[in-house]
Symmetry: D2
Subunit: 351 residues, 4 copies
């Protein structure tokens, strides 16, 4: 923390700020300048709350100089975290983790048809919402536990790991039971009760960046989960809200190297929500792999025009196959392979 | 819904889109133009999901032309909703509703000291967080139920109506029991589980706009509450996230006349979170009243430098007194009075 | 400037940064902390360019702690600047300066018809574009010098001071000749050649905030004009670009108290471009006056449906009359009167 | 254009709007719906100005359904525009165009030292500012014509094509004389006088996207240049302004496929300004090539810690060499080669 005094602050005011800092148990370092004095603070183990100082007479502003997160920081843990889901499926290692599937689970038939396609194309994780946070109460809200059961059947049949969203503590308990990875959606990134509950879950958590979350807020949301004891967190960039109107959101790919520098956690990219338009999913997927993401979360639907949600941003199975081929080549340049699960399930032999 | 065809779309493609629209049970109105054809859709009672059409060959884009909300719409209910909290305290009527108090309840002494001051200055509602959503898991998270009990004592002693935040279904149940108005915070504006639970509560709900919520999303979040049967919703503008860095958030006062035009719900303004800086609270409070807001939600603390959160945006009691005087005069221009509760409590006689 | 070292920076690296700072002619103040060292810099009279230090080994980041502007700063000049346009018309004094007129000058008849109306309602300055920066090359671009001549006739006939936009050095020379105040538009706020030319002009400058300008950038743009010797600058908030789509721009009224705190320059508000919608102009005008603005820049048109640009955000004369009455009352609360020019011109006697 | 009537609009109001549309010379297509009527407009060759209709009684809003640009549109010209600079250097073809060099030309020695390095690494175009738009009037503003002469010497010595910025009509005339490509900076993207002048220039124009420009505004700015007769325009994405604070700007890579879909013009990416941080330039360069950009504009400096501007975002020559190797491999996946100029200049033989 650095306290900047006003240009006309008196020596008494500077002294009072220094005394307050010492009272708080820290050390004050006044640095007189030509127009104003700045006071450095050291000796704090947690970030200093500016509220204690900004109200004092003569103080112009307080500037934070250390970051508020600890457990997620690369300074604490130099090696990359690799989330191991078993059966050779890992997120954050040298393989790219490809999570594909429909926006929402609509029926057993739909889920199986899509799972067969994405499995054949090389995905090792399957996505599909059973609980859908929709901006309208009149839109399809998901199949609930029935959807989770279908997802568990998909895993049994295809050997795909299951990623699905929890929206409150009740659904989180069920998702924890049925799925392999618990997704926390962008709109819940600062639902701190849900984050704490996820921090006590026995399964890894996929945490999506909020639409208006700064990098610090994103990492602090992950910190909530780690602080409760769950160290298996996968971050996911899915686009931020800006003035730009040619895509649904603005995919912020620069956050990938920024996260890699500050944190040891893996980070993947969702180009489907990140762009909101089918024709941009493949180019942005290539870019995500090229920038250094650890994987992708992609919406695929075999009949997007009949999808109950987000059909216009879902790839067709053939397009997903093309995506896999293109990112395999891009990945190779960065020495990242496309992950393949051990073994090929019965039902795929004939595909 | 209006479907815009690509410039080179064929007649067959236009025909296929029209057939699809008819299949969905609606009526298609093709309008050929010099460079492209547009197809209007009528006959729908709910908004048409663009997903069903955007994937068809030859379609350039789908444009929504009707709004997705119903119950919150002024078209449905022309008269302003007035939320009546009893004892003459109303939100949305001719009186301005002034909600004041500390960011967080810290102790009985703190709450009573501040309550005496804001009551004396003319506030009729008291705010104070018992459950605090904080971006860091290491920050003070609120006193929980103990804080709610203190708030109930404040009501008994000062006759102030209590507004406090719920962050999940457990806390909502307790807030519903102890408080007069259930606050849903900005970070939970699209926590749809919480909105549904609030929609089944017996108390009015104060819904804050999310940091990156469009007006449509804000009204749809309120729609979730009304759709469950709770029609007593108070909206609250508290600043949006933009690039501007001279305030913590950018207070969007233009949303007040926009809400008044589209909806019958009352809307108040939080100039404390909206600016994040004490010295801007009074000018922006004047502006909020001048633009037509139905009230204010203001942070006041008697010892802001010792506050456990947000001290630097809290007004001192004297400043709040000044604010009340200034907005009384501004309100008079718009024929809005500052609400005063019936009776003056014992403890205020000597103030 | 404060240099933050990386957590694992060596003593040698800290030493090298300190030596570099001394080489640049400044003084280095290293402050070791529990996890990292920060180095304060003093002795600089101009802001230190971070480029000289951010590239050194072990440096995590450089944080600017002093502001880059000088001539516009209130620290330099405590008293408010009042721009005196003669005949009792001042901007920045106790009177509110009301600038009203059409978006574009379209004809002598149109300009005179509107001027008569706004004069009668109490405006003392007349606006109207002769050079129109339009996003499309195919839109009406203004009448050019012919428009300026009409504006000069308006001044002669109605005694209104003329404010009109210059878009390049050629038009600036003409505007300087014909008008009383040279307007620099939002899109040209960082057209530094134009700012320098305006800084050498003999007339006051009205500088509009750019759509994505931070407060620092806005003040630095004004600094360009003052640095060339023209101290008569009037700032104008006209809305910033955000994700919010219910208005054309988001009017940032919090910038008014922020400017008042940091600078001695007057600042007015343009609620017409700030909202882009006629029905929001009056409420936001009230708010602008209530927040402490020194005046308004309002579009008025007697036949907005026939206006060649921006008709839908122009007030009708009757609405402008209502606006003047409402802001007179709001202004009175802040002890600001609505300015009235000395004398009433011939043509108004019969209105 | 589609006119949406209010829910309670009368038949008379609908009729009046239709008559107005016909008066304007267009055709009106009223479409009654269950709650409101929409009116389609056809027969217009240029976009309809909503101002003419939004003011009419009963009109809720006007929605534009056709795009305002013509000459830049792919609908007009299906084939990609390839800007041919001679000597085998092309922008928009199968080769990636790599433009590298310092932010500002500082001296002959500096320019030659960097030119030798970037030439050796494979760049075919050299960048370097002689006129620098700086946010502070007290920052280094460039060497002016002296800088242009140095750039011309660089071309003579190294065979590199020269790209440099013009900031007003005077500098544009000189840039047109000395350079191969005239750059229009982001802050001048809507400096329409400058765009028109560039449209009359004999050299190709590199147009950078403004910090808050929508895609439509970006393309319309290019339309200004084409409308004056200069069809050789290269677009450049360089980051937009958002709330995200981990990079200087937010690089919007999704605009690349969006431009490719709507326009025939080539588009390159500036990862240096787009991120503002050296360590993010290489990953984002890879991503830019992977998403389909036609080239890169990269800042390179051999002594960034002594650079007069933007040193902290400039790559070192070794890093640029690494960038070229990585993008060559990524480019190969998309069948894009890295352009190499014919011949190798004298001075490089010994490098």
């Amino acid at each position: 923390m650095l306290v900047i005094m006003q240009a006309h602050a008196t020596e008494e005011q500077v002294g009072a700020v220094c005394r307050k800092i010492e009272e708080l148990g820290f050390r004050a370092h006044p640095m007189p300048g030509p127009t104003r004095t700045a006071i450095g603070i050291t000796g704090n183990t947690v970030p200093v709350d500016p509220a204690a100082l900004e109200g004092l007479a003569g103080v112009a502003e307080c500037i934070a100089v250390s970051k508020p997160y600890k457990l997620v920081a690369r300074e604490l843990k130099e090696d990359n975290t690799v989330v191991d889901l078993g059966d050779g499926v890992r997120v954050g290692g040298t393989e790219l983790a490809i999570i594909a599937g429909p926006c929402a689970v609509e029926s057993r038939e739909q889920a199986f048809a899509i799972a067969a396609k994405v499995k054949a194309a090389g995905a090792t994780l399957f996505r599909g919402g059973a609980y859908k946070p929709r901006s309208s109460p009149y839109s399809f809200q998901g199949l609930g536990e029935e959807g989770l059961k279908i997802l568990a059947e998909v895993r049994a049949e295809f050997g795909l790991k299951i990623v699905t969203e929890a929206v409150d503590s009740e659904s989180l308990e069920l998702v924890e039971h049925y799925a392999d990875v618990i997704q926390i959606g962008a709109r819940n990134m600062q639902n701190f009760s849900l984050l704490k509950r996820a921090g006590r879950a026995a399964k890894p958590v996929l945490l999506k960046r909020g639409l208006s979350a700064t990098l610090d807020e994103f990492l602090m949301a992950a910190e909530y989960i780690l602080a409760e004891g769950n160290y298996n967190v996968i971050l996911c960039e899915r686009g931020i809200r800006t003035f730009a109107d040619h895509t649904r959101n603005t995919l912020d790919l620069s956050v990938i190297p920024a996260v890699k520098r500050l944190s040891h956690l893996p980070i993947i990219v969702d180009p489907s929500h990140g762009t909101g338009r089918r024709e941009k999913v493949i180019p942005l997927s290539r870019a995500a792999v090229a920038v250094g993401a650890d994987g992708l979360l992609v919406e695929v639907h075999h009949q997007p025009e009949q999808a109950l949600s987000d059909g216009y941003q879902s790839l067709l199975p053939d397009q997903f196959q093309q995506l896999m081929e293109e990112i395999s080549q891009i990945g190779a340049v960065l020495r990242r392979s496309v992950a393949r699960a051990a073994g090929t399930p019965q039902s795929l032999r004939a595909v």
